[in-house]
Symmetry: C2
Subunit: 208 residues, 2 copies
DNA sequence: TCGCTGACTAAGCGCTTGCTCAGCATGGTG
DNA sequence: CACCATGCTGAGCAAGCGCTTAGTCAGCGA
């Protein structure tokens, strides 16, 4: 279910990630548990048991429970920013690029909803230094989206009165997907992405 | 700051609410603390201290920490549903009512963002019976929005391919406001509401 | 065969948690 | 005055928390 998105974040290619398999299992268990119950309601025993180990084994691979959260949050944000950058700097005009951005951003938040929940809703539990890193990544994401809307507006492709508000709305729609999307949702992540793409383009006043 | 929305949820009119003032103070402290740190990271000592009491005093007014959360969540959802019903069943055509709905829904989630965070992001911490009540209220909210979009679509005022997806997007936009809106936001809740109203109407294909 | 290393566990430490309870001050009532 | 209900506190209990420690054991190079 979430194995594909997880693999996207922490590549298991030989040489690309030297992390032992046990550390990877702990990471996966932590994502699942943090997403379902939240960071503070998750115990180190939960994570270790789900990874098939004793609680003490966690501390061989990670400094603390919070370090696990920091790792997940930073990798998740980095992956999201990469996705956004790829769409924004891709081929085509503002309309085409915005459509691709929303499609990918939305589909990612549906597909990787467990990681997405940790990334977007457990920020307050991050240690201060990890939070600073993540906050910078979030700002970058917002700036990329704003820049694309700005380009479209000056090119006459979009009609928006406030670029920042429009950018907020676009990212907001995608982020919130990770809150409500479930296994039982009838739309596939890709279908949802296409539909949200349409809605956003109309919202931005694009003639389509 | 949040005192006005709080008063909306738990009226202090003489006779309307027989709750002792101390219980009200505990409620307010709990909302603030749950919103900032989350339910599980909040201790009963946090709440009691913020309300100017010893931890034991909490249990004179509420059965448990979870009972406080249940009270907040149910009152918050009830208030939101009332707001939605008032807008949906108000005067005017679908376009006019949708604009008012989004304006009010958005402004509420900005103004009452502390309550809003508890309402939308602490559902998983609710005891099972309280969750059932709240889930029913959430379903009602979604149904009201869907019904209005459906009306507008059949009347030819909206162009939407999937009513459910469109309804999701509309409520999603409003809910997510409680996540990101802060004291430092430059837009007032009402300004934000008006702008989101415009964006949503365009998203729904209304000719405006 | 040997000593060493890295991954792991059983046990448990010190602390915090949600919650309880005996008792105290207050103010209204006979 | 006595009486008691009410609202609260100080002290503290049992359980559970994150994390540590001492020790086990398979695998490996010399």
């Amino acid at each position: 279910m979430t194995s594909t998105p997880m693999a996207d974040l922490w590549p298991t290619l030989p040489g690309a990630d030297t992390r032992p398999e046990a550390a990877y299992r702990l990471l996966q268990a932590a994502v699942e548990s943090f997403a379902e119950r939240g960071f503070h309601a998750t115990t180190t025993r939960d994570i270790a048991t789900a990874a098939g180990m004793s609680p003490a084994a966690l501390y061989i691979h990670y400094q603390s429970k919070a370090a696990l959260l920091a790792e997940i949050s930073q990798a998740g944000h980095a992956a999201t920013l990469a996705l956004v950058r790829e769409a924004v700097s891709g081929e085509g005009g503002p309309v085409e690029r915005m459509r691709r951005l929303v499609e990918q951003f939305t589909a990612w938040h549906a597909r990787a909803r467990t990681v997405g929940r940790v990334v977007n809703y457990e920020l307050h539990a991050l240690p201060e230094d990890a939070y600073a890193v993540v906050a910078a990544l979030r700002l970058d994401i917002e700036r990329e989206v704003s820049a694309l809307i700005g380009q479209g507006a000056t090119a006459g492709d979009f009609q928006v009165s406030e670029v920042r508000t429009a950018a907020r709305a676009v990212t907001s729609l995608g982020i919130d997907v990770s809150r409500w999307y479930t296994d039982r949702s009838t739309e596939t992540p890709e279908e949802l992405g296409r539909r949200y793409g349409e809605l956003v383009l109309r919202m931005l006043g694009a003639r389509i």
